[in-house]
């Protein structure tokens, strides 16, 4: 298990649903929603948030720059 945990925030209104982030994610965190945004595109969301390591692969390949990535150390419980 990795020692870090990450999370992404998607700018839903600007996401165009190209799915490049889904392919880019090495830990299969991202999927597309069934709902659509105001423009009619399905948008990205975290289907598997525990697996996110905050590597920012998704945000780097996102052509529209709609993904913001956060990362922190896992709380030792």
């Amino acid at each position: 298990m990795s020692k870090v945990i990450g999370a992404i925030v998607v700018d839903i209104d600007k996401c165009k649903g190209c799915e490049l982030c889904v392919v880019a994610c090495p830990t299969d965190v991202i999927d597309m929603t069934k709902e659509v945004n105001a423009k009619g595109y399905a948008y990205a969301y975290m289907i598997n948030p525990e697996a996110c390591t905050g590597c920012s692969h998704c945000a780097t390949v996102c052509p529209d720059g709609v993904i913001t990535v956060y990362r922190t150390k896992k709380a030792t419980a």
Partner: protein, 263 residues
């Protein structure tokens, strides 16, 4: 851990650069132009030259680049971006000038301007986005369209007899004395984006140091023009575009690199 504990300003790893405006990009979903814009502006930000950078926008899909890049921009007539950039860099030598052009702009109508600007060794950065098709006007054949590739003006596929051979602009300008760094990259995977960004950053640095013309080609997809989904178009690009347009450094610090491989 709760999402609230992760999503805090101090944990921020990546966000859209401030050198891009908040305007929504006009490109199709999955188009490589967006990523190319982003890394160009990130390179400018990291070098701390936002205030003294002037970009020249082309005609084509990226005609509205001045709306998205938060630096000083100038619009050029179709294909004439290197000529406008030449003037800007000569009148204001303290500024860093770059052009951002597509293949229809740079390799078709602007071939003469491009070659002569490179041959004169103007201290500018040329970013050339090559997707092998005229995207904005509806997927017509470009000089860079691959052999056998179907487009709206080559519905049976491009042939050498009828349409000539695809133009390798980057190899062409690498032969000229004036160019300093010439390389070809892509922006479809994390690794390639990082490589492309590094090359663009070096290009800006060397243009600032007045070492000659810097030429960075970015092989991109055009999912609308190629009639594929964004993910499929990237796969197709890896398979077909990279075979004819191999990625890698072609000229480094004014010296031609022999091996034209390294993916």
């Amino acid at each position: 851990m709760d999402l609230k504990d992760i999503i805090k300003p101090e944990n921020l790893v990546y966000t859209k650069t401030k050198n891009m405006t908040d305007k929504e990009l006009s490109y199709c979903p999955g188009c490589g132009h967006g990523t190319a814009h982003m890394i160009t502006m990130e390179a400018v930000e990291e070098l701390g030259i936002t205030e003294k950078t002037i970009g020249v926008a082309p005609v084509g899909c990226s005609v509205l680049a001045y709306e998205f890049m938060n630096v000083d921009m100038q619009q050029a007539a179709h294909g004439r971006a290197p000529a406008v950039a030449t003037a800007l860099s000569r009148v204001m030598p303290e500024k860093v000038i770059f052009t951002y052009q597509g293949d229809g702009d740079l390799a078709a109508i602007g071939t003469a301007e491009t070659i002569h600007a490179c041959n004169r060794g103007e201290n500018i950065v040329i970013i050339f986005v090559n997707n092998g098709i005229y995207g904005m006007t509806g997927g017509q054949m470009a000089p860079t369209t691959l052999m056998g590739m179907k487009s709206s003006t080559s519905p049976y596929g491009r042939t050498a007899e009828q349409n000539g051979n695809p133009l390798k602009m980057t190899e062409l300008v690498a032969q000229l004395e004036g160019t300093y760094n010439v390389s070809r990259h892509s922006v479809h995977t994390f690794k390639n984006v990082k490589k492309a960004k590094k090359a663009i950053k070096k290009a800006f640095q060397d243009a600032m140091d007045k070492k000659g013309t810097q030429f960075v080609e970015i092989v991109s997809n055009c999912n609308s023009g190629w009639k594929m989904s964004p993910v499929k178009s990237n796969e197709w690009m890896e398979e077909h575009m990279f075979a004819y347009y191999p990625l890698g450094q072609i000229k480094k610090d004014g010296v031609l690199v022999n091996n034209s491989n390294q993916n």
